[in-house]
């Protein structure tokens, strides 16, 4: 029905177009950031620089926005109640004007109102207003930045998200410590979740947002040799702040991931030199084997609709990407080019699959369509791996290690541009991007 409506509408449009004798095609444009002016009205005092700074940093980190300096403003606006003089903003090439007013509401509570104007069309296009505790002003700023981003780009913002990662640290005895940590997507508010007594890898957040799973094992030193003990999948609950064993099998279990509904855990289990993919129903507590054979099948990942699973396998002779149905049937190969593929991750939008590729020419982070077409590389480096997607499917985070073994988390846009380093307190690997987090401390007003 929906399709039929679209067809009829297209026919109507075509008649409309046909009435006009001329149609001019515009097939080229300019790819550059949109210029935006952030005008902050601080009625509380002392918060202007920090609040606007967070919004400016969020928007400019996307490389889709360019903030105009306040020194260039030709109109001073002290209230959000009056519309701006658009010509004065057009002169300085501002395309979007943002008026933000912050005023105290009650003790310890602030009231923030944001109005977004389109200077070219001389119209107000968005208004956001919310209350929050004064201590949570950063979350409020991220929420405001999200609102601007969504209205201008049409896509969901990701500034109110968290990044889960593994912080590494070398000790004096050259022993490496692995600790699970979590921070805001801009690197602020870093918290350590484990104490580093055991090795932790591949943290994966549940879509429900209340827990995450990770692979961990303890080591025992025997005759100066380190031997892993009980390598298994664990889970950490944010509410109880406790770690518990999720599933333990004979052999090594690793690379766990949640299904889109959060009720199933998928992982790979290695035994006697071969590795197969299994699923574990967290509710029914039942395990099911999906792949068989003497090959190595690992790094499984669900599609966002939960219908398919992508994984990497060497069943064809070299390590390549494969896609199968959720019951393990209909296995088809995705990648065919030179090199080896690993750690595939399906985009939340469902239109791309990110992966790690390595070969004689080095390490790469790339993306490929689910049908195996349009493969291209986004980043390269001495050692890059473990890609993870932003919630809107536009940005990819990955681990980057340089020649001097400095480990960092980097981000790159889906277009391959805008490579950035995410600031962390220590060396960081294995990032995992959370979904949009609902801040209970921020309450939206009806406008």
């Amino acid at each position: 029905m929906h399709f039929l409506r679209r067809v009829i509408f297209l026919i109507v449009i075509m008649f409309d177009i046909a009435n006009c004798s001329i149609v001019v095609n515009v097939n080229k444009g300019v790819v550059k950031p949109v210029s935006i002016a952030l005008n902050f009205i601080d009625k509380k005092g002392g918060m202007k620089r920090s609040f606007v700074g967070v919004i400016r940093k969020d928007l400019e980190s996307t490389c889709l926005f360019r903030s105009v300096s306040e020194d260039a403003f030709m109109q001073k606006m002290d209230t959000i109640l009056t519309d701006p003089t658009y010509n004065l903003w057009k002169i300085i090439n501002v395309q979007y004007l943002v008026n933000i007013e912050l005023k105290p509401y009650n003790d310890g509570i602030i009231d923030v109102t944001l109005v977004l104007y389109d200077v070219a069309s001389k119209s107000k296009i968005r208004t956001i207003s919310a209350y929050a505790k004064e201590n949570d002003w950063r979350k409020m700023a991220h929420m405001m930045a999200n609102g601007i981003y969504e209205r201008v780009t049409g896509e969901k913002g990701y500034f109110d998200t968290k990044i889960l990662y593994v912080a590494t640290q070398h000790t004096k005895g050259k022993h490496k410590i692995y600790r699970l940590a979590m921070m805001d997507q801009d690197g602020h508010d870093n918290q350590y979740l484990t104490n580093g007594s055991s090795i932790v890898l591949t943290p994966r957040l549940s879509p429900k947002g209340n827990e995450f799973s990770f692979f961990s094992y303890k080591e025992k030193t025997v005759n100066s040799r380190k031997i892993p003990l009980s390598a298994s999948v664990y889970r950490y609950n944010f509410n109880t702040r406790k770690t518990e064993l999720m599933v333990q099998f004979k052999g090594m279990t690793y690379a766990p991931r949640y299904s889109p509904d959060g009720n199933t855990l998928i992982f790979s289990l290695s035994n006697n030199g071969a590795s197969s993919i299994y699923t574990y129903d967290l509710v029914a507590r039942k395990i099911r084997r999906l792949t068989k054979g003497r090959c190595i099948d690992t790094s499984p990942c669900y599609s966002p609709d939960g219908q398919c699973i992508v994984f990497n396998s060497d069943r064809g002779g070299t390590q390549q990407l494969y896609v199968m149905d959720t019951d393990g049937s209909n296995v088809r190969r995705l990648s065919f080019s030179v090199g080896r593929y690993a750690t595939p991750v399906w985009s939340p939008r469902g239109d791309w699959i990110a992966f790690t590729k390595f070969g004689s020419s080095g390490f790469f982070i790339g993306i490929i369509r689910p049908d195996g077409t349009e493969e291209r590389m986004l980043a390269s480096g001495f050692l890059v791996e473990s890609p993870t997607w932003s919630p809107n499917g536009r940005v990819v985070l990955f681990s980057h290690q340089d020649y001097y073994r400095k480990e960092q988390i980097c981000s790159v846009d889906i277009t391959g541009y805008n490579k950035r380093v995410v600031p962390t307190q220590m060396n960081a690997i294995d990032p995992e991007w959370s979904g949009n987090i609902k801040f209970d401390c921020v309450y939206r007003k009806k406008v």
Partner: protein, 342 residues
């Protein structure tokens, strides 16, 4: 201005040098052309007999040589040679005074039986000196003996010297000029390099000026705007319209890169123009209103397209074609615009 004067001075210098060189070479050619060539066998004209069908002579062919070639290449005075004695010749020695160019009697073709006319060779027969040929100009002089002075020959060495002197003088002069020309050229190159280093700063400004001039020219060249491009009877979808009008919008369209489903997004916007080509802001209309209201990505792309039209403001269209563009549609194709950048 200063840079132009310097450039002109350099040009003048190089021009004068090249003119001088050309004059010298011309003089040399003229002088060498009018020098006498008679005694120079290298320059002697050798006329081939016949030509065409008779280009190659057979041994039996006889062709009379031209009269000038009948003159022997000998000095003007002929030296009387003593008669050749003891010439084995049946006819006597009187004929020994015949033309010295003739081969000696002994070399003549024998007539009759050889055994009778030619006496046997004896060892005691004195050897006779062969007839000495008269001295020729090309003959290598005997260094031990002084060359015999010939009154007429006295002038020729002088002529040789003159030739040599003239040639060498000219060559020396040409070489001098060349070296001085090379020096001037080097100096000119150095000066030019230093000037170029300063000119580089002005290049950017000049480019801007050129761009501004081009803009002015385009804006003022209304009459020639569409000439030769075949507007014809109008119609739709001509590549010319895309090139001429579409390009005015392209520079202002900020394309949103990396959007979802970019290949499915084509925004059609209807616009209306005034008589002077100015876009009526109120007449800008996105045709697919339903999608604009429901699809956020489509709305973002449509907003960017509408903004591009508003920022363009006025379209440059010839007055005689304005009626065609009173009311028309722009198609903004996102997939085409993002080719290679998705």
């Amino acid at each position: 201005m200063l840079h132009h004067k310097r450039d002109n001075a350099l040009l003048n210098r190089s021009l004068s040098c090249s003119v001088l060189l050309h004059v010298i070479i011309f003089v040399f050619c003229v002088v060498s052309h009018f020098l006498p060539k008679k005694n120079n066998f290298l320059l002697m004209e050798v006329e081939l007999s016949g030509g065409g069908e008779n280009a190659i002579m057979s041994p039996n062919d006889t062709v009379e040589p031209p009269p000038e070639l009948l003159e022997p290449i000998v000095p003007e005075e002929r030296i009387e040679e003593p008669p050749i004695e003891n010439v084995i010749n049946g006819e006597g020695g009187a004929e020994a005074k015949s033309d010295p160019m003739q081969a000696p009697e002994s070399a003549q073709e024998p007539t009759g039986d050889m055994s009778e006319s030619v006496p046997p060779f004896h060892d005691d027969v004195p050897e006779t000196k062969p007839a000495e040929l008269p001295p020729q100009e090309e003959a290598v002089p005997n260094l031990d003996e002084k060359p015999k002075e010939v009154p007429a020959a006295k002038e020729k060495p002088k002529k040789k010297k003159r030739k040599k002197n003239a040639l060498s003088d000219v060559i020396k002069r040409v070489e001098k000029k060349k070296s001085s020309e090379d020096r001037r050229k080097k100096i000119a190159d150095l000066v030019e390099k230093s000037a170029n280093a300063k000119n580089k700063k002005n290049d950017a400004f000049n480019k801007m000026l050129e761009g501004a001039r081009e803009e002015l020219r385009r804006s003022s060249d209304v009459g020639g705007f569409g000439e030769g491009l075949g507007y014809g009877s109008g119609g739709s979808g001509d590549g010319n319209y895309d090139k001429i009008i579409g390009t005015q919008i392209e520079r202002n369209w900020i394309v949103p890169a990396g959007v979802r489903d970019a290949e499915q997004i084509v925004v059609s916007i209807r616009i209306q123009l005034k008589d002077n080509g100015e876009i009526i802001a109120a007449g800008i209309k996105v045709l697919d209103e339903r999608r604009y209201a429901t699809d956020l990505v489509f709305r973002a792309v449509a907003d960017s397209a509408r903004r591009a039209i508003i920022e363009t403001g006025c379209l440059k269209i010839p007055k005689d074609k304005i009626n065609l563009f009173r009311d028309f549609v722009f198609n903004f194709n996102l997939a085409e615009a993002l080719k290679g950048r998705r």
